[in-house]
Symmetry: C2
């Protein structure tokens, strides 16, 4: 299974979430899997890319067709719970940036 | 040292580079360090966030004040060499997206 998101024709939106985890799982793994599953079923969802190193710094970028889609996702009730637990339990620090993708390509050789 | 980029007032640009490494270092580590150092000295550079997991999937997001800054960085000669080696030697696959950051925040508690 590819860990790359699709590359539709821009414009579309990216939500760049960079986060430093605290130590210990504390239910994070199961919730993260559930959020990926839940996001994939939302209207306007394009895809997600996510990785985290051994020191607990992760970057997750989710892609959405338009602002309405990402705003709706932010308000999904299970996701609201995950956001709350992120603040209180899982993350030492995080940044979230909403950005409009203007151009995109892949490589090598457009694979 | 923080691994988070600064959070200036939007708008500014993000370059989202997601890449699957091939096996073996092949000079990658030294070049990656040099590129971080070199980028930091470029006009319009804001910051960089980067992480990679044990399976070799990495996401690097660099932030730039405007399009002119990121276009100039793309053409820096040492960076052109790194791009070439990325295609021929280091990366199994990659995607690159240029996106305009519209809003951003951090947490918990704005730390």
């Amino acid at each position: 299974m590819t860990r790359f998101a699709p590359l539709p024709e821009p414009p579309y939106y990216a939500v760049i979430f960079t986060a430093q985890r605290r130590e210990g799982d504390q239910g994070y793994g199961a919730m993260a899997d559930r959020m990926v599953e839940l996001a994939a079923g939302q209207p306007g969802y394009i895809g997600i890319e996510s990785t985290r190193d051994a020191d607990g710094l992760g970057i997750t970028v989710s892609y959405w067709q338009d602002e309405a889609a990402l705003k709706a996702w932010k308000q999904v009730s299970e996701h609201l719970l995950a956001q709350k637990l992120g603040k209180t339990r899982w993350y030492e620090h995080y940044t979230l940036r909403v950005a409009k993708v203007e151009r995109a390509y892949d490589g090598p050789e457009g694979r």
